[in-house]
Subunit: 301 residues, 2 copies
């Protein structure tokens, strides 16, 4: 099963949903967006954490399982420049697992620390690997409103927060800090000069290709400008490792970006530009173009 291909089918069938009733943005972005009774935007996202796929059930401390379950969904809220306000969690838990109470206790504590207390959920026994889900509701407190994947325009600069690569080997996939404060700061400082945004979960190359497709533009990224974590051998690893949970975004004003200071001293790098066309290419130091769609994970493919 190709998960992303399956999701693409589902998104295509739901393409007519946006604008129907309370729905502003349907499936396919980092969050769905609905209108509340006053017309304000509410963000909704859900993500799964499957033992053996997203964490090693033998070796991962309960604390970090709980953290990743919550933080992945918080990162989706950040990707829209939203702020999480509450969460629901489910667990399908193997009958032999003795720490379910501790796990949910940790999830509740961490969710509250991320600003989205756990206000509901469900627990069921299951004869298989643990499957956790976390649904988060978020709001947009900035005037810019939710930042979509579809708003990149030719002429924009392509930027990324933090550094990329080596997330699985280093354990950062369990401990990353969702970029909520950074996204809100970008949205407040840049307002309409902030173009499209998403969080990087499957690798810069493939994720940037998705942003390009959503916006109907082409992204040109310079390999030499992709910021790498220490120990990440080359740009190819940085662009394809996945699970970075950094923000990829586009900006309409170079001067604005270069002056920006992000919260917590988080680095900000300009890595490329948006042009007319389609797809994402990463251009190496010899000038060779590499197709972004080949760099990253297409889960299950």
């Amino acid at each position: 099963m190709r998960e992303r291909e399956l999701l693409r089918h589902i998104y295509e069938r739901s393409a007519d949903l946006a604008g129907e009733g309370v729905i502003r943005v349907g499936p396919g972005d980092d969050c769905a967006v609905i209108r509340d009774s006053a017309g304000a935007s509410l963000l909704l996202t859900v993500d799964q954490l499957v033992a053996g796929r997203h964490f090693d059930p033998e070796r991962t401390p309960i604390d970090l399982v709980a953290r990743k379950a919550i933080a992945r969904s918080v990162s989706d809220i950040a990707a829209m420049a939203g702020t999480p306000i509450c969460a629901l969690a489910t667990g399908a838990i193997p009958d032999c697992y003795a720490h379910a109470d501790e796990l949910f206790d940790r999830m509740a504590t961490l969710a509250r620390a991320f600003g989205c207390p756990l206000i509901g959920g469900d627990i069921a026994g299951a004869d298989g690997p643990m499957v956790l889900t976390c649904t988060i509701v978020g709001v947009c407190r900035t005037t810019r409103g939710p930042v979509l994947r579809a708003d990149a325009r030719p002429g924009d600069l392509v930027c990324v927060t933090g550094r990329l690569g080596g997330s699985l080997e280093s354990g950062r996939h369990l401990t990353f800090e969702p970029r909520v404060a950074e996204a809100v700061a970008l949205s407040e400082s840049l307002a309409d000069r902030l173009g499209a945004m998403m969080d990087l979960s499957d690798g810069l190359g493939i994720d940037a290709s998705r942003l390009a497709a959503a916006s109907g533009v082409r992204l040109e990224i310079e390999a030499g400008r992709v910021p790498r974590h220490e120990g990440v051998a080359d740009w190819r690893r940085a662009a394809s490792d996945g699970e970075d949970y950094e923000l990829l975004f586009t900006v309409r004003d170079r001067a604005g970006v270069e002056r920006l200071e992000l919260p917590r001293g988080t680095p900000l790098s300009v890595i490329g530009r948006v042009t007319e066309g389609a797809g994402c290419v990463i251009i190496d130091e010899r000038g060779h173009e590499h197709d972004g769609a080949d760099l990253g994970w297409d889960h299950g493919a």
Copy 2:
């Protein structure tokens, strides 16, 4: 693992959440309730459907798997007298399962038919039984607002919609109609004379005990008045079979109830009364009292 006991621990630890920030009702009721930016109530619920626990993966048509995944959460919205407006779904799907696309297609179609289009979700591969979740957002369109489990008072009548028992054997657990229209009609007709309400998922006895505990009252149910589906042998089966997804509610005005006609001709029965005290008893025709807490499922116990 005793799921309900575990959930009870979680609820107890979250008891201070109600009133914090946007939270009106935290964990423990059929839905959580938050305030939107205009102060209106939004309902949130999530439920899981686990292959081998909630349906037979060998025999259940895809259509009915999809239906139950959505309808269980819709029933939670009905239990608060809400109306569902949108949904998110996840699937942890065995790698060998060839019908994931069809399953999600059916879930999307059914969710839309229930008034809550699927606007987001996630799919992951898993080496175990299929685990589906459905998160639903609902609104309260009636002036009565969300109907909680905690609002039964001594002197109320205890009522139930439809008939009970035999849901698993008959297959009704796959085809039941969530009581959204009935709940809205009750809420509109009765307004403040409607007391507490919940949907019956684990069996009348145990669920009524939970309503009694939430309200700090005692429920006395007359066995002979419990409405049974055809083929359900006795009151004990009707009170303990579970998965009825009918509404259990209390009312402050006998005359009002007896005049009520529910949508779709759904039956409405007065089955008992609320008194001072604690717990739920079901009184048989000889006058013997049976503890409701012993009648029903405590999953995994």
